[in-house]
Symmetry: none
Subunit: 244 residues, 2 copies
C-alpha cells in the first residue's frame, strides 16, 4: 500500500476528541456517590425519611465527624436538603431527581452483578415492595403501574406519563384528591425505573400520594430502619383488587 493511502487511513481513523472541556460533569457527582460511606448515607435517605447527622453516622458506621464531613460535601453538591430544627439537623435527598439517579445506578449495578450481599430472603422482600424516595417500588409497584396503564388510566408515551380523565376518576375513587395534586409544583406523574424489576413504576406527586394513601388505609406498613414495605393481609387483598 502506498504511503499516501496509508496516511489517509490514519487520518480518518483518528477522531477529534480533544477539547472536551464542556458539558455536564458527571465525575463530580459520581465521585460523591462512589464513596462507600456516602453511598450508604444516600441509600438510607432513599427510604424517603429525613434523618439527623448522628443517625446517618451510625447507619453508615462512621464517626460523627466523618459523617459531618460527608454530609457537607453532599449538601454543597446539591444532593441533600438540610433542615435545621432545634439543635438537630435533618438531611433528606434534595429532590426526586437524586433518587432516580440512585435507582438507575442501582439497576446498573444489579445487572452487572455488583451486590453488597448475597441475595437472601430479605432481598426477596425488597424486590416485592419497598420505598423509593417517597413512592413505592418493587414488583407490587410495577404491577400497579401496568394495571393503571393497561386500563388506560395512565397514558404512557416514550418518556412521559400522564393521567387520563378516566384515570383521574379512578384515583379519586381511591380517596385521593387529584385536583390538590395538580396544585403542587412537582409534576403529577413521573416514571421511575425499578432496579429489581427493570421496568417502570409510578413516581411523581401521584406516586407519593398513593403510598401515603396506602399507609393511611393500613394497606401497607413500613418496616423500621429499612426500605421494606410490608402488606397487611387485608391490604394485600385490597391492593390486588384495585390493581389486579
Amino acid at each position: 500500500m502506498r504511503a499516501e493511502a496509508s496516511g489517509l487511513v490514519r487520518a480518518v481513523a483518528r477522531p477529534q476528541t480533544a477539547g472536551m472541556r464542556q458539558g455536564p460533569d458527571i465525575s463530580r457527582i459520581a465521585a460523591l456517590i462512589g464513596d462507600p460511606t456516602r453511598a450508604n448515607i444516600l441509600s438510607v435517605l432513599l427510604g424517603g425519611q429525613a434523618l439527623t447527622a448522628r443517625e446517618l453516622a451510625e447507619a453508615a458506621g462512621v464517626s460523627a465527624a466523618t459523617a459531618s464531613d460527608h454530609l457537607k460535601q453532599l449538601t454543597e453538591a446539591g444532593l441533600l436538603w438540610p433542615r435545621k430544627q432545634g439543635r438537630h439537623r435533618f438531611f433528606a435527598l434534595a429532590d426526586e431527581q437524586v433518587a432516580q439517579a440512585l435507582e438507575t445506578l442501582a439497576g446498573l449495578a444489579a445487572t452487572r452483578g455488583h451486590m453488597r450481599t448475597q441475595p437472601g430472603p430479605n432481598d426477596a422482600a425488597l424486590r416485592e415492595a419497598r420505598v423509593c424516595y417517597d413512592h413505592m417500588a418493587g414488583a407490587a409497584a410495577v404491577r400497579m403501574f401496568d394495571s393503571l396503564a393497561g386500563r388506560g388510566f395512565l397514558v404512557v408515551s416514550r418518556e412521559s406519563v400522564g393521567l387520563s380523565a378516566e384515570g383521574a376518576g379512578f384515583i379519586a375513587g381511591l380517596g385521593i384528591d387529584t385536583t390538590a395534586l395538580t396544585a403542587l409544583r412537582r409534576p403529577m406523574c413521573r416514571v421511575c425505573l425499578d432496579w429489581s424489576e427493570r421496568r417502570s413504576h409510578l413516581a411523581g406527586a401521584l406516586g407519593a400520594a398513593l403510598l401515603v394513601r396506602f399507609q393511611a388505609q393500613g394497606w401497607v406498613r413500613r418496616v423500621e430502619d429499612s426500605r421494606h414495605i410490608r402488606f397487611t393481609p387485608p391490604g394485600l387483598r385490597a391492593f390486588s383488587a384495585a390493581f389486579g
Copy 2:
C-alpha cells in the same frame, strides 16, 4: 477503636443497620464513573462510537498505560464491551443501560451546576466506501448492513450474526449461491467494525461474496493502489435500490 474499612465488618458490628446493606452496590459503579479520566472515557464512548485504547487515552489526556488500566477496570466491571480486531482493541459501552445511567448522571449534574461537552466527528474521503480486507467498508457498507438487519435478513445478536431464511432468499436473488458459501470453512457471516463509521458492517464469507458480486456486476470499481471503492452511476442506483 478505629472502624474497619470494610462495610461488611461494620454491618456486623452494628446489626441494627443491617437492613440497609442489601441490594445493589451503588458505590462500586459510581466510583468507577467518579474518576475524571474514566468519566471522560465514558463520555466519549457515549457518542456511540467504538474507539481504540490509544484514541481513548488521547481523548482523556493520559498515557496509554493509564488508559489501559482504566479500560481494564471498566471492562471487568461490565461497563465496556471490548472487541479485539487485529492489533487494535476497540471499546464501546456495554449496552444501552450504561448509556442511560450516564445520561441520568449527566442530567443530575446539569441541574446541580457543572458543565462540559463532547466534540463532533471528522470527515474524509474514504468514509463512503472502501475495501476492508476482502469485503466492503464505509458508510455504504454500514447502510447495507442496517438495511439487511432492518428487514430481518440478518439476525444480529451481540457477538454473532446469522443469515435468516428470508435473508438467504434475498441474497440468492442478488445472484449469490448461498449454499456454496456454507461449504466454505470460514464463517458465513461476521461483524466487522467500521473504521470511519464506528459501526458494524458485514464481513465473513457473505461479506466477501457481496463485494465480489458488486464488482462482477459493475456496480463498483476499486481504485488502483488504494482501498477506495468508487460506485459507478448505475451501480449506485442499483445499490440504493437493493439496500435503500
